[in-house]
Symmetry: C2
Subunit: 124 residues, 2 copies
Amino acid sequence: MLDLEPFEKLDRVIHERGRLVIMSLLATTERLTFTELRETLGLTDGNLSVHLRKLEAHGYLVVDKQFVDRKPRSEYALTPEGRAAFADYIQALEVIVRQAQPDGEQASTLPAGGRLKPGLAGAG
Amino acid sequence: MLDLEPFEKLDRVIHERGRLVIMSLLATTERLTFTELRETLGLTDGNLSVHLRKLEAHGYLVVDKQFVDRKPRSEYALTPEGRAAFADYIQALEVIVRQAQPDGEQASTLPAGGRLKPGLAGAG
């Protein structure tokens, strides 16, 4: 039977592809400057800024703005909440992957009684 | 070093959460009627229709419309292209999950020379 719960758990703030890669980078690299993120991801300034602000608004990252050699530098790092949310997200993905694999815990018939919470009904 | 390629490979048609769960269900259950999908997912008719049409427009699923006991019935099934795209998507997810895990093949420093293709720059 396909377990629908991991799909409900997919945090939309993280699920968006651009933000997923930002979260993945910060989860493995501790701190990155705006310039490092932009050059690594190949995103425009505007697009990257919007993603970073959204992640900051959700408390998933913090920015540290300083002047280094008279030039402004913004450094981004995940918060403990951001790390926890990312870990939960990855855990949900892991179950989704496992269920999708031929030898996984998957259904050969219609999942019985599985019904998503209203949260997923808003899927745009 | 964080491999950015699997993020580029995340098919946006499948990545949207509502469509991901539809693809996952159809990948494991072969054929489902509109009513079965709607009741399982708890989506509105409109929302489900939009997702199904988008998946059909990309050639990922086919619909078989018949009258059964004088009532119209629409049955949905993945195409071979849909199965292949879903398999590729799941494979990309698997690498993303593996890289995110503490014992995975992940970076402790800034990924060198990793740069996403322009495709990701359009992340909204």
